[in-house]
């Protein structure tokens, strides 16, 4: 830190502001990418907490089926939980909404809308996004989508209850909440489309002089590929959502075959549709979506890692080529979610092969990050702890994808807890840890203050231990054949008797995990006002965002920055400081 103050004394907050705006235009209907980023981040964090709480309620039911939920049971409503005991209908709502909220309203808005918006323009030296008003529209479309989703809990029959995948015909015959879910999705998808367009144009058009593509920070590359995935994969789902909406409200049969008999009654529909069409359209989005969930997180990890190993990342180019290749490949693996829908040999061979191929760039990226540690001088800061934990956690998530990606071994594991364990390792101790790393890392840029280190470390170690006790037993349960999405956790089944007992420690670990997030929440708000003051370049870092004041004013940079070198020039031989920023000209060095 001494270096930082020596090289870049903190800039006092007298930087010129654009014409002073009133409160509403400055903080609510803002077109400033940083304000929008923070709006996205805070809304996303609130949804993450809410979605996690839904799961905590489910975890109680799984650990103690049929026993009233303590503390909050009475508030759940008699139609949802009679006498505090969760009803199966409500359990299914919780499950569907947990998935929807975490994916579409939590992780993506935080990772792309939040970090992408706040950090990316700063990292490329841009004064703002290319289309500030579209950026604002993107946030407000997301906000409306979120409100629609939340409101759906209060319509007759409650929220959507057919899983976050909304498979038909179940979703078409479901209660009104499903209609609201579809409408909410249309808003959320629109929001992502507006955002992705903006990201692509901004990265292409607004890079600072000297910032060539091969000098871009990895985080920007990840956001660029993510934006393409959103732009190209979401429209099919938007179309599919509208088709499903038609099936529900306009009597069409896009997804409904002839001859349906529900509850002993012949369903009066024209028929002739196909339920598998929905699955294809859904997974055509939802597999690229997996990479939308993971790539920004990987980008954050790369930034935090490079900064705290004090040396360049190993294999910058292989990482960049891998992520671009990954982006292309992610469009041709979707049906590996559908091996058990009655797939023949040709189709399954194709999708198994593409699935194995797509694992290679992921392996290259992870290997490069691991090898970057060799010869490092590692600072164990709070953001670094989260970033380091990402590596083995994402590793477990990736490795457990192997037996699921091979169709014959998938037979036994499909739709069991093994699948849940697999993708949660990718997204929870994977992506979410990366996002926490990002918050601790860029908090000083957004506020001018560090977050508290002790609280941060308690948050990390508590979360790390608890989250593994929640997710690791899922592999054991899945191998035993325990199915997912069971209201009573599988205790009816003889084959699940033994492993159902694991639900109890998993439940307590979930509550512990919730508890440890309090350290983060307190730290977050306390540090905004009382945190230790941070210099402009808070971590002795090399990328462009650290050349802007903290917090950066509207327009970001007092002087348009110029880029002179690669993004991670740490410990360059012959330089006295162990970092040489991109914005430092050779003359000064």
């Amino acid at each position: 830190m001494e270096h930082a103050t020596a090289v870049h004394p903190p800039v006092a907050h007298h930087v010129e502001h654009a014409p002073e705006l009133g409160f509403w235009w400055k903080y609510v209907f803002s077109t400033d990418h940083k304000v929008i980023g923070i709006q996205y981040a805070i809304t996303g964090l609130l949804f993450l907490l809410f979605g996690f709480t839904l799961m905590a309620i489910m975890r109680w039911q799984l650990a103690y089926p049929g026993q009233p939920v303590p503390v909050i049971g009475a508030w759940l409503g008699a139609g949802n939980a009679s006498g505090g005991v969760i009803l199966p209908e409500f359990y299914n709502q919780l499950g569907a909404m947990h998935g929807t909220i975490m994916v579409f309203m939590g992780v993506v808005p935080l990772a792309v809308g939040g970090f992408g918006n706040f950090v990316m323009p700063l990292q490329i030296g841009a004064p703002d996004m290319a289309f500030p008003r579209i950026n604002m529209a993107s946030y407000w479309a997301y906000f409306v989508g979120g409100v629609v989703m939340l409101a759906s809990f209060f319509v007759p029959g409650g929220a959507a209850n057919s899983g976050w995948t909304s498979y038909v015909p179940l979703a078409v015959t479901a209660t009104t909440g499903q209609t609201w879910w579809l409408l909410g999705m249309v808003f959320l998808i629109t929001s992502s489309l507006l955002g992705s367009l903006n990201f692509i144009v901004t990265i292409f058009q607004l890079r600072a002089p000297g910032l060539t593509f091969m000098r871009l920070p990895i985080f920007v590359w990840m956001q660029l590929v993510t934006a393409y995935l959103l732009l190209l994969a979401f429209p099919p789902l938007e179309a599919a959502a509208i088709l499903q909406l038609m099936d529900r409200v306009a009597g069409t049969s896009f997804f409904l075959p002839s001859g349906l008999v529900v509850s002993g009654q012949v369903v009066q529909i024209s028929g002739g549709g196909n339920p598998l069409l929905w699955q294809h359209l859904f997974w055509f989005l939802a597999h690229p979506e997996v990479y939308v969930l993971i790539l920004p997180g990987m980008g954050i990890v790369a930034e935090v890692l490079a900064n705290n190993i004090r040396k360049p990342l190993w294999g910058y180019k292989p990482i960049v080529y891998s992520v671009v290749f990954l982006g292309f490949m992610s469009f041709v693996v979707w049906a590996h979610h559908m091996f058990l829908t009655g797939m023949g040999t040709t189709m399954s061979a194709f999708f198994q092969t593409t699935t194995m191929i797509i694992s290679i760039p992921s392996v290259i990226i992870l290997t490069s990050l691991f090898l970057s540690l060799w010869g490092a001088s590692i600072r164990f800061t709070t953001p670094m702890l989260f970033a380091l934990a990402f590596l083995p956690m994402f590793g477990i998530g990736g490795l457990t994808g192997l037996p699921l990606g091979l169709a014959p071994t998938d037979i036994h594991l499909h739709d069991t807890y093994y699948v849940i364990g697999h993708f949660h390792y990718v997204v929870a101790p994977g992506t979410l840890f990366a996002l926490f790393a990002g918050i601790y890392y860029w908090f000083p840029k957004a506020t001018g203050r560090y977050m508290n280190d002790l609280l941060g470390k308690i948050h990390f170690w508590g979360s790390f231990v608890a989250i593994n006790i929640v997710f690791f037993p899922m592999f054991i349960q899945g191998l035993a054949g325990m199915n997912r999405r069971l209201y009573d956790g599988g205790i009816q089944y003889a084959h699940a008797q033994e492993t159902a007992k694991l639900h109890v420690p998993m439940g307590y670990a979930t509550f512990a995990l919730w508890f440890f997030q309090l350290f983060f929440i307190v730290n977050f708000f306390w540090s905004i006002k009382k945190g230790r003051q941070a210099p402009q370049n808070a971590w002795d870092a090399t990328t462009l965002e650290w050349s802007a004041p903290s917090p950066p004013p509207h327009g970001n940079f007092p002087e348009p920055p110029v880029v002179y070198r690669d993004p991670y020039e740490y410990s360059v031989p012959g330089h006295p400081a162990d970092f040489t920023p991109q914005f430092q000209s050779d003359k000064k060095a």
Partner: protein, 243 residues
Amino acid sequence: MPIVASEHGPQLDFYNALVHLLMFALFIGWGAYFVYALYRFSAKRNPRANYHGTKGKLGKQSEIAVAIVEVLFLVGFAFPAWAVRVNAFPAESEATVVRVIGEQFAWNIHYPGPDGRFGRTDIKLVDASNPLGLDRRDAAAKDDITTINQLNLPIDRPVIVHLSSKDVIHSFGLPYFRVKQDANPGMTIPVWFQPTMLTPEGESWEIACSQLCGLGHYRMRGFVTIQTREQFEAWLKEQAAAQ
């Protein structure tokens, strides 16, 4: 892993174990490297980082090794094993043939009876006592046998299940047989396996619905009982009398 009671089960389990072995080896290998690197290259022990980092080829070699092993798994196991599951069906005359139709929240089992032919069904005939809408006036239907949630099968003879659904998507999961297949409405999908173990007296093996199908999904449980040929024939007669 649970009991394995089908002919193909041990093979799938063996490869599953191999895949897990590979995963475990990779995790332990990289994990050991990771822990050592964190210890060796902490700022305390290594105050000045090396700009160039590792020069070793270990990374590239391990990537190539992973790629080769994946190709071996695909070609040596996944493609042929899947082809056997979905293509190499035994002749119907050599097998026990049965229809299984899922509905919220039960499994309807339909045996063709001694004539070996399934009777006609019609959704207009569906009612509480005839969940399949079986047309008993059809000659082929006269000897048909239907049960709910109870699938009996003879040991050591291939089984072909024609799988479908009346309402939403279910999944016909037999954990002890390493069999799982979605039951889609509007489609009939065949699945085959060969039981190799008798269900012990007093035990019930299960059909577990594996696809979320509504509020009763968790209790959509059927039973599968493997009997000797004689026991099975006797059971069929008993059921035929009760139709």
